[in-house]
């Protein structure tokens, strides 16, 4: 082997060494678990793994009070995507794809934190829109249902100025110590996320108003937010 190597021209030896170095670097990358450098890279990888996309990243946010460090918002032709990513905690990562039903799509930030155990629960909510002229949005979310024999009907009135192209970001903050509000917010998260919870019968009503830079009303519409189960079973 050594004789064969010595007989090779110096140029060939140098090129073979180069190829060997590249091969070793690839193997090192694989043995280290193929880490990604950024949330966007992780998102594109997750996109392929979930057989959706390709999507365009709208924003990479760092939401407060969540168990992950980054939330990537993205949009594709037929749907919107949210990817919760944490560099160190693989359990906290979650990819959500929502098919678009029209120019407006509402989605709660994914997560596995048990909201009903939090006295100060915080749930980011996003409105994906196709109205480039809209600079301000108002979103009224009405959650109705029954929990442990008690019926509830809660409306959260949210408003936000546009922070990035293609979406508005809101936040629902609760300050309840009895956990019921956390249960309701969990329902919203389950409806717009990947969940096998009881959401087939759940319909969340949303009123959306968008305003342009002059304060004129651009859009005033009502939406029904339904889970994948609800859409599949009640077409």
């Amino acid at each position: 082997m050594k004789k064969f190597w010595k007989r090779l021209p110096v140029k060939v030896q140098a090129c073979a060494n180069g190829v060997g170095i590249l091969a070793c670097l690839v193997l090192i990358y694989i043995f280290l678990g193929s880490p990604v450098l950024t949330a966007e890279m992780a998102f594109h990888r997750a996109e392929k793994a979930n057989l959706v996309g390709p999507g365009e990243v709208l924003a990479t946010l760092k939401p407060q009070g969540q168990e992950y460090s980054h939330l990537v918002l993205a949009e594709a032709e037929e749907g919107v995507m949210l990817y919760a990513w944490d560099r160190w905690d693989a359990e906290a990562r979650e990819f959500v794809y929502l098919a678009k039903d029209g120019p407006l799509t509402v989605a709660a930030a994914p997560g596995k934190k048990l909201l009903w155990l939090q006295t100060h629960a915080c749930l980011p909510v996003y409105l994906f829109d196709d109205y480039a002229d809209a600079v301000r949005a108002e979103l009224d979310l009405t959650l109705t249902g029954e929990y442990e024999g008690d019926f509830y009907h809660n409306t959260y009135q949210l408003e936000s100025n546009r922070e990035g192209e293609g979406y508005f970001a809101f936040e629902i903050q609760t300050d309840s110590s009895d956990g019921w509000e956390g249960q309701r917010l969990t329902k919203l998260r389950n409806v717009t996320g990947n969940s096998m919870a009881d959401t087939a019968q759940t319909v969340i009503h949303a009123a959306v108003r968008l305003y342009d830079a002059n304060g004129d009303l651009l859009v005033d519409t009502n939406l029904e937010i339904r889970s994948a189960a609800s859409k599949a079973q009640y077409k």
Binding site: A14, I21, L25, L51, G53, N194, A197, A200, A229
Partner: protein, 274 residues
Amino acid sequence: MIRVKFEPWIRKAVSRIVLPQDRIAAGRELMDHMEDHYQELLGSDISPKTAEELTVKAMGDAEPVAEELGLIHRPFWGMAQLYTGKVLRVVACLTLVCMGGFLLARYFFMGGYDFPTYYRYDPYKSTYAFDNAGQMERLLYTDPRISADSDGYTFTVTQTALWQETGIDGTVTERFYFRVEVRNPLPWAGHDDILRWFWAEDSLGNRYYASYEKGGADVAAIQGTSYHTGPLTRLHDMYLTDYVSADAQWLELHYDRAGRDVVLRIDLTGGGAA
């Protein structure tokens, strides 16, 4: 014959040549040249010792020769071969260390890769079982090996099994199991639960909802668990709840989100009996 006085001069003259093989070749050439001059001087009735000294003196100062030779013997490819060889040795050692770490983490700390384990019976290896809840019998087993590709992933239905379970109260139910192996040649292209978005329908028009489309409702659906069975593969161990396809000819698994159209048709008539 070793000319003692020649060697220090030659060593200095070749000291700026980078590649060892070039240093040796240039040194030999200089030695030959000095030897020729030495032999000429010997023919003029000069003592060997004096001839050696005169030969070295005739070569002049070694320093400018070293500089000149260093400039000439600096080939790009030779340097490239030298330095890439050194880098390759270091990187190869690093690779071995990382491989050791990977194997240790995977097999010692994580217990290797996962494979399905069953509580009551293995639907693919067993043919009959009974327990306090009743008795179970396998009616059909196939290994269809049908595949479909999407986004670089290959989905293959590897095994199916149809079981009949007779409860102690006499109720009879059927349960259909199937395994889907998902493979991607890129080690970093893993996934966890993509099969939870697959739904199914049979030739009679019965629909089984995807796991994420069940939403807690009492509807027939696909359920199951995924296992990381190898560096490039995941095995999804699935079954159909509320199986109603006893008279169906085939069952099709579908994935149709985001413009994809993955279809896997499982023949329900073929295969050997239990």
